[in-house]
């Protein structure tokens, strides 16, 4: 039985497990699941850039950081309610992405990869150096308030759990719709052959930028949730390793959203499960990843084909298809 055929049972199973998990989990594992949800959010948004458009972007932690710091600054200095800062955190990350991506968007593959790694480092070092006297240097920002939703204060692990996974659910729906549209197709054309895409009328630069900006917006919003959950953020939470993990989650996933979820569970959950092996755990994890890449080089679950409603009957009509356009004035 192929993994692709098991999609529906896996999706349904995953949804049920996610719903009932807080009933059976202890606080520690719930915390791990919140983490997994955050990584899933980040990886789903990176999947638009990397999986759909094929842009090798390894700097997603930078946008995550911009979002988290936007929330932290607005909340601690200006006392904005945390959830109100979420759209602004998204916008800040999106604007930042627009500014940094514009000059580098035409770079290809490995070159772009290196520049995006540079972006994460620049952001981290800037935060360490207390940009504009707002980010608090290496200590970061303390005392971020708990979010309230309709007067309901979110502070317990289980509440964050549902907040994060609801956001994941909404993202899944929105990104799925995006995939099944001219926007999603345009990104796929660019991934397949950008010169052909441009030659057929797709504004390649604009769509690459749009993918970047959208992904950054989402990462920024994930930053808000992260800041609210941790109540303390520091530059080291947004280092290069974080970017690599998000990147690896997407690569391992194969490009489908279900793949991203499973991959996030494997990447974040597996090392936790292996804790009893102490020092050997990263070694075992590394071998597991290598085995994956050998066993499934295409990733866990590549995206399905899009579906189209095509009027089948009309293609099998008796008339010569060319009659549709035939102009009787010109005879052979």
């Amino acid at each position: 039985m192929k993994l692709q055929d098991l999609r529906t049972p896996i999706s349904v199973g995953l949804a049920i497990v996610l719903l009932v998990l807080p009933l059976v989990c202890n606080a520690y594992w719930l915390d791990v699941c919140v983490s997994i949800g955050l990584y899933a959010l980040l990886a789903l948004s990176l999947n638009v850039i990397l999986g759909q458009a094929g842009i090798f972007h390894m700097g997603h932690a930078a946008f995550f950081a911009v979002g988290a710091y936007t929330t932290a600054v607005l909340n601690t200095l200006y006392h904005w309610p945390v959830l109100w800062t979420m759209p602004l955190a998204g916008v800040a990350a999106a604007l930042f992405a627009m500014a940094v991506a514009r000059p580098i968007i035409h770079l290809r593959g490995d070159y772009l990869l290196i520049v995006t790694i540079g972006i994460v480092e620049i952001v981290r070092i800037a935060l360490l150096n207390d940009v504009a006297g707002l980010t608090g240097g290496s200590n970061g920002i303390f005392g971020i308030a708990r979010p309230t939703l309709f007067g309901f204060r979110i502070s317990k692990g289980v509440q964050f759990y549902y907040l994060v996974w609801c956001m994941v659910g909404v993202s899944l729906l929105l990104f799925r719709c995006l995939w099944q549209s001219r926007f999603g197709r345009a990104l796929n054309y660019i991934k397949e052959d950008d010169i052909a895409a441009e030659g057929c009328g797709v504004n390649v630069t604009r769509y690459k930028l749009a993918a970047f900006v959208l992904g950054a917006f989402w990462a920024g919003m994930a930053g808000t949730v992260y800041a609210a959950k941790m109540t303390t953020i520091a530059p080291e939470s947004f280092n290069f390793m974080e970017s690599v993990i998000i990147f690896a989650v997407v690569i391992l996933s194969g490009g489908s959203q279900l793949g991203v979820l499973i991959s996030a569970f494997l990447f974040i959950g597996l090392p936790e499960l292996l804790r009893e092996f102490h020092d050997a755990r990263m070694l075992i994890f590394g071998f597991a990843m290598m085995a994956m890449m050998v066993w499934r080089p295409q990733g866990l679950l590549p995206p399905l084909r899009r579906r189209y409603r095509v009027a089948e009957n009309s293609s099998s009509q008796g008339v010569s298809p060319k009659d549709v356009w035939n102009d009787s004035a010109v005879s052979e």
């Binding site: 549209s181 926007f183 796929n188 052959d193 030659g199 057929c200 959208l214 095509v310």
Partner: protein, 256 residues
């Protein structure tokens, strides 16, 4: 009416003059052939028209608007569609989605309507699919709509590129060696298809090595050699032109 006009266009590649002060016109509603020996600069001319290259000198007008130096997607929006000499389909994507690529620039749904699948977005999508299926029927590939494009025969891949170009509602279609890789039967069908394209009111500019095909369908020929035009006019006049005969002497494809 003159649809396309090249004025003293030159293109230089690191000292090699690929096109040298080339000027010609394409009248609306005609089928024009651009011919010449290998390496004469034909594909380079096409790439200048479609925005893939920016000419060093000269100007190109489409429907009286200057287009030299515009990015390719803008030129497609203005109404020039092309096919590639080396087939450039999205091989792993289904045939229908390849045609939808050509339709893309005539669709309007923005990122938000795409994420929310709004009613206008869904209507536009339905119309685009119907229109692209019509183009597939036009080239005879409707039954293959769900297959990956890379699995089609070369002949059919060329037809698919034509369908993709037509889906963008062009006023001018530019075909770079459309019969390349086709057998005699497919070539004969292609001649029909090209005539039908013109009958839809679309002007055709084509490069072709198969001289029988060119002589059969073109109303005007432009002959290039070493990047310069050596003759132009009706096919029967061009084939008697001594310069043209000399340029083609000894060449493999001098099968008039």
């Amino acid at each position: 009416m003159t649809l396309l006009c090249l004025n003293d266009v030159s293109k230089i590649f690191g000292g090699l003059i690929a096109i040298n002060d080339l000027s010609f016109n394409v009248e609306e509603g005609s089928i024009v052939g651009l011919i010449g020996p290998n390496g004469a600069g034909k594909t380079t001319v096409f790439n200048c028209i479609t925005g893939n290259y920016t000419p060093e000198t000269g100007s190109i007008f489409f429907d009286s608007k200057p287009i030299a130096g515009l990015p390719p997607h803008r030129i497609v929006e203005l109404g020039i569609a092309r096919t590639f000499q080396t087939i450039r389909l999205f091989g792993r994507l289904p045939v229908l989605e390849n045609v939808l690529a050509g339709r893309h620039c005539r669709m309007k749904a923005g990122i938000l309507s795409c994420m929310l699948h709004t009613a206008p977005q869904r209507r536009e999508e339905r119309e685009a699919v119907a229109r692209c299926m019509e183009e597939l029927r036009f080239v005879g590939l409707a039954d293959n709509y769900s297959e990956p494009a890379g699995g089609l025969s070369y002949g059919n891949q060329r037809l698919l590129e034509i369908a993709r170009a037509l889906a963008s509602d062009p006023r001018l279609i530019i075909l770079d060696e459309p019969a390349g890789g086709m057998n005699d039967q497919e070539t004969a069908a292609l001649v029909d298809t090209i005539r039908h394209i013109r009958n839809r009111g679309i002007t055709v500019l084509l490069i072709e090595h198969d001289m029988r095909l060119v002589m059969k369908i073109c109303e005007k020929l432009i002959v290039l050699e070493h990047g310069a035009m050596i003759a132009q006019g009706k096919p029967e006049d061009v084939r008697r032109n001594p310069d043209v005969i000399e340029a083609y002497l000894g060449a493999d494809d001098a099968q008039w």
